[in-house]
Amino acid sequence: MTATESRPESDPEAGSSPAIDPDLEFDVPLDASAVECPHCGRPFVDERQRDLHVGLEHGDAADDAERTAFGDAIEIEREDLRLFRLKALAVLVLLYFGLLFTYSIVT
């Protein structure tokens, strides 16, 4: 479930900062504070997005602190996803029975 990105961006041997994906285009509001990736400079809204990005895109070049941060971020991400799935399931059930109910009244 970890680093399986299609675009090879990190170059572990060079150890230098690989360039940010040139196809990406950013627009950081002037009054906003961006968290930048120390490896490629890509701006993020918060640390957690940055930590996930470092683990996914620069997994080979990451230091121990970054790996730990990635592990923590993945844990929180999983927790968030679990909660989201529950909500999604609830909405699906509501949709299904809502429609079933509506159909039984209308037809």
Binding site: M1, T4, S6, D23, F26, R85
Partner: protein
């Protein structure tokens, strides 16, 4: 071009012509079979529309359950290279065929029978090419570059070597597509073989001049709307160009290459492709008749009403899509720019466009296939009485399934692209909220058009 209405019109002509069909009612079924599918359900229209929207929403929720990055990537990264030695032969055969067909269509359009359904020009262009060939572009592979007669002709001509202004980008093709569909909507292009031949002649003349001016590669890459339509449809297909050779991939999965749409003009073209289908259906509704009647009665020329409606409606579509991209920055949240998000999430719309095209045209194509064959066999005199296939009643349900399949494919592609773009998977899911909302609204609008009785566009 994107013409379910043309389908219905030719269909109606056919029904009038084919005397030996026992029941004209059954034959008419093909043309508005999407509609009959909705009518055969004994539910009120609002519930039909609500269900359509709910299906899109539910599909999105189901897709969000696929959160394993390697699984999502394994679907769209699956590729098999194909050997391409037969391609050169295919190209020369294809371009010869294309040139013969172009000359044949113009000759038959001018000299052939005046009844649309007996005229090979009308049958070849609408049934063979715009229905059948276009389907092959997104169901199999885009062969248009190999067949396009105008490309074959202009590649043998000298070029003037004029510079194509880069800032124009794909915008000329957007204007071209809108203009083509406008002509198709306001004129009897599918009923009048002479008019069809003239229009194709004008189109060919413009293409020859333009391609000679800036060179065929640039012309067909940027300006020619037809080439762009087929190129975009080809990205939905399971076979296509993979950079170094032809490749086999899962249907629609080439759309996950989010760098393929690389300019605001290309986004505008994708939106235009979706809009023209909608506009074509919109003008056949009773609601349009009321509104247009009210404005025409106030003294506005009817052509102007159609032109303004087409451009204004397109503006609304483009504006709504761009707003969704801007909103996605906040729902995700992300610092990726709104124009970039608009580009990255435009390719999925092509799956939707292909789904609607298939729904509108497969039945039309199958119904008129015998008439196409008969018309080609008697190009000038015309066949005596064209035969039409009568499609079974369940075909309408199949067409609704195509529309749905296009949407589900689009939702999956957008999901995969979002996973590529965003580090946080919930962020990727959230980025889709505005796009899904727009998609639900679009589906509801389309289903409403389909469920409304089809009238001839008034005041033309």
């Amino acid at each position: 071009m994107a013409s379910p209405r043309t389908a219905r019109r030719v269909g109606a002509t056919l029904v009038a012509t084919v005397l030996f069909l026992a029941s004209a009612g059954t034959a008419a079924a093909h043309s508005a079979s999407l509609r009959s599918a909705s009518e055969s359900l004994s539910v009120p229209q609002w519930l039909f529309l609500l269900t359509g929207g709910a299906v899109i929403g539910a599909s999105f929720l189901l897709v969000t359950f696929a959160t394993d990055r390697s699984f999502v990537a394994s679907i769209h990264e699956w590729r098999r290279p194909l050997a391409g030695r037969w391609l050169d032969t295919g190209r020369s055969v294809g371009s010869t065929l294309g040139v013969v067909a172009l000359v044949g269509v113009i000759v038959a359009g001018v000299a052939g029978p005046e009844t649309a359904v007996r005229n090979p020009a009308v049958m070849v262009v609408w049934v063979g090419w715009w229905a059948g060939f276009a389907m092959s572009a997104y169901l199999v592979a885009n062969a248009w570059p190999a067949i396009d007669p105008l490309r074959a002709i202009t590649s043998r001509l000298p070029t003037a070597g004029l510079e194509y202004p880069d800032r124009l980008g794909a915008w000329p093709s957007v204007v071209g597509l809108l203009a083509l569909v406008f002509v198709e909507v306001v004129s009897p292009l599918a009923d009048d073989p002479r008019l069809l031949a003239t229009t194709i002649g004008i189109y060919a003349a413009i293409t020859l001049v333009g391609a000679v001016a800036v060179g065929p590669p640039r012309w067909f890459a940027d300006v020619d709307p037809v080439a762009r339509v087929f190129r975009y449809y080809g990205r939905v297909a399971p076979i296509g160009w993979g950079g170094s050779g032809f490749e086999l991939r899962l249907p629609g999965m080439a759309l996950t290459r989010w760098t393929d749409v690389d300019g605001p003009g290309e986004v505008a073209f994708v939106v235009a492709l979706v809009w023209v289908t909608t506009f074509d259906g919109l003008v056949t509704t009773a609601a349009w008749g009321d509104v247009a009647g009210w404005i025409v009665d106030a003294g506005v020329p009817s052509l102007a009403v159609y032109a303004v409606a087409m451009v204004a409606g397109y503006g609304v579509f483009l504006g709504v899509y761009r707003s969704a991209a801007r909103l996605a920055r906040r729902t995700a949240p992300t610092y990726l720019s709104a124009p970039m998000l608009a580009r990255a999430f435009a390719p999925p719309l092509l799956a939707i466009a292909a789904g609607y095209h298939l729904a509108h045209f497969l039945g039309y194509f199958l119904t008129l296939l015998p008439a196409l064959g008969a018309a080609i066999q008697h190009p000038i005199a015309g066949p005596a009485a064209p035969v039409a296939l009568v499609l079974p009643a369940w075909f309408g349900a199949l067409e609704l399934a195509f529309v749905l399949a296009g949407h589900v494919l689009a939702i999956w592609v957008a999901h995969a692209v979002a996973f590529d773009l965003f580090p946080d998977r919930l962020q990727a899911i959230r980025s889709q909220y505005p796009f899904i909302a727009v998609m639900i609204a679009y589906t509801t609008l389309s289903l409403w058009i389909v469920a409304e009785p089809t009238l001839a566009p008034p005041y033309l």
